[in-house]
């Protein structure tokens, strides 16, 4: 097990190295000199030269790449061109809404997807099953930003149940800030519940036909106990996998949703960085998100081995 984990970790590092390389060279393809953008049209060539030296842009690309990679490996993602601070600081400032949004969304998605999937499997082929399948399919094909706008209009503007947008006034308490996340998290949770529903259903169908379920039933164990204690527990590994996968997907979904709800998270940071071509921020965010993605995948693998001793063998 340790050997396979070490191997997984090794390929994770390779993937991260490739992501960093790809991000670096793709960014260099971009037209226009970021220093020229930063200094505006009043700048003299000498100013531009000086700033290029500050950012190391006067060195050959390969040298820049090696230097940059060394910094990234040490966790330094460079300086934001527009925000006048290190990219890591900018990311850290924005991490709270994104973190809680992802956490709440996955909670919503799980609370919707797991019970729906179980019901669908238990009443396979019946009306409930068809309804759940149809709704899951629909949810997966709704653009989150559109659902967000509809929810804002209905639940926030018309019914006044939730704040319309933003993350509370400056100095708002944590509870108040988190209150702003319920509606966006519901949107993301609904849109991303489909995968969990489908996998829960499939995984439950697999185990519901197993011998021990039949044995339990013949012993006279209640149907509820069979489904939850016997079947669901054994169906858990694929469900945990897909929940992990969904968390990784949510990171991407959060980008668009944060924009709709005006949440000052990583997604919002990236979108504004893209719109004003703040390349260090874009690079840094991409690398941070990719690192998060591979780490989530590794964690999911680790959790498996804890939940299901058979995987350890």
């Amino acid at each position: 097990m340790w050997l396979s984990l070490a191997r997984r970790f090794g390929s994770l590092l390779v993937v991260m190295f490739l992501v960093a390389t790809m991000v670096f060279f793709l960014t260099r393809l971009a037209p226009g000199d970021p220093t020229a953008i930063l200094l505006g049209d009043q700048a003299t060539p000498a100013d531009v030269e000086r700033l290029r030296a500050v950012y190391g842009l006067d060195k050959p690309v390969i040298v820049q790449y090696v230097l940059w990679l060394k910094e990234v490996a040490q966790g330094n993602l460079g300086q934001s061109i527009f925000l006048q601070r290190p990219v890591t600081t900018a990311l850290a400032e924005r991490v709270e809404p994104t973190f809680f949004l992802t956490l709440f969304s996955i909670t919503f998605a799980t609370l919707i997807g797991v019970p729906a999937g179980i019901a669908s499997a238990v009443w396979r082929g019946r009306f409930v099953d068809q309804l759940v399948s149809a709704l899951a399919m629909l949810a997966a094909n709704i653009p989150s930003f559109w659902l967000g706008l509809i929810f804002i209009q209905f639940f926030a503007v018309r019914l006044g149940l939730f704040p319309v947008a933003g993350y509370g006034d400056p100095g708002a308490s944590l509870v108040e800030r988190l209150g702003h996340l319920i509606l966006p998290a519901a949107v993301l949770g609904i849109v991303n519940s489909a995968l969990i529903t489908r996998f829960t259903r499939a995984s439950m169908l697999d185990v519901l036909g197993d011998d021990y379920v039949r044995t339990a039933r013949s012993k006279g164990v209640s149907e509820f106990s069979i489904v939850i204690r016997h079947a669901f527990r054994n169906a858990l590994v694929p469900i945990i996998t897909v929940i992990g996968l969904t968390i990784a997907l949510l990171v991407g979904g959060a980008i668009v949703t944060e924009t709709v709800f005006g949440l000052p998270g990583i997604g919002n940071l990236v979108v504004s960085a893209v719109l004003r071509r703040d390349y260090p921020v874009i690079q840094g965010a991409l690398i941070a998100v990719a690192a998060l993605y591979v780490l989530i995948n590794l964690t999911v693998d680790l959790i498996y081995t804890l939940v299901d001793p058979r995987v350890r063998a």
Partner: protein, 281 residues
């Protein structure tokens, strides 16, 4: 007369839902192709006097903040949205199949190719897409190019997985033993046997691409604003959502309808072509 295509379609459309979805796609495709003849108004025509009017006999789906007809813009939007989706599918299937075949057939090339695929897939679709569009500049072509890069790795994975299996089949060995060249084996024998999963993947990528393009346009990193797309319509309408909800509602329904129909057809294809999966998903 029963041509294979006809038999195939008959079996596919035996399920009413798949047939309905295919009809929706057909209608959308016709609307996209014949937009100038079908649309009741010029999609760019400004009539400020009739701005933000609710749906009526004159404008079936209402008008937007410039008095432009929402229905006409949705019909023209189908052009950009579906056209981009179809182009993304074509490119990612062509490129992804070629790379996937190579990875699945030549063992020593498999690890480097698959690590690259992992790297691209470690970035969320929409994040990678806005990054690429930001670098390349926003134009219809660049949006297609960016989304093709995002979805090619999926095709690579599917084709490679199938190619790994097909490679070991006796008929491939037979072909090799009678002296068939490597390209012939790759394209004639292996590619021909991985078309089913690729076809299924194509419909799903089409659906994802339609959704992703809408997301990009919504974020302002999509096609230039003068091209009407469903995502851009929602984006510019959002500040009028309070007064004119139809300007947000209808373009979104068009996106849902298109993506959902593609997904239903894709599911139908998968169920038919791969009976093993029917039980599981």
């Amino acid at each position: 007369m029963a041509s294979p295509t006809l038999t195939f379609l008959k079996r596919l459309f035996r399920r009413k839902l798949v047939l309905a979805a295919a009809l929706v796609l057909f209608v959308l495709a016709v609307a996209a192709i014949f937009a100038p003849w079908i649309a009741p108004y010029d999609p760019g025509a400004l009539r400020v006097i009739r701005r933000l009017k609710p749906p009526s006999e004159l404008n079936w789906l209402g008008t937007d903040e410039f008095g432009r007809d929402v229905l006409s813009r949705i019909i023209f939007g189908a052009r950009a949205s579906l056209g981009i989706g179809a182009s993304v599918v074509a490119i990612s299937i062509a490129v992804g199949s070629a790379i996937g075949l190579v990875a699945g057939y030549f063992r020593h090339l498999d690890p480097p190719i698959m690590r690259m695929v992992d790297a691209v897939m470690a970035l969320p679709d929409i994040l990678l897409a806005i990054f690429l569009v930001a670098i390349l500049g926003s134009s219809t072509f660049n949006v297609i190019f960016a989304l093709a890069i995002v979805y090619t790795p999926r095709v690579v994975r599917v084709v490679r997985a199938s190619a790994l299996v097909v490679r070991e089949q006796p008929f491939v060995e037979a072909a090799r033993s009678i002296g068939a060249s490597t390209p012939r084996i790759l394209f004639r024998h292996i590619l021909a046997n991985v078309t089913s999963p690729v076809l299924v993947q194509a419909t799903f990528i089409f659906a994802y691409a339609v959704l992703a393009e809408a997301g990009l346009s919504f974020l302002g990193a999509g096609v230039p604003p003068e091209v009407p797309t469903w995502g851009e319509m929602i984006s510019s309408a959002q500040q009028y959502a309070d007064q004119a909800f139809w300007t947000v509602l209808f373009p979104g329904l068009a996106i849902v309808l298109a993506a959902l129909s593609l997904q239903v057809v894709g599911d139908g294809l998968r169920d038919m072509l791969d009976p093993k999966l029917r039980k599981a998903l």
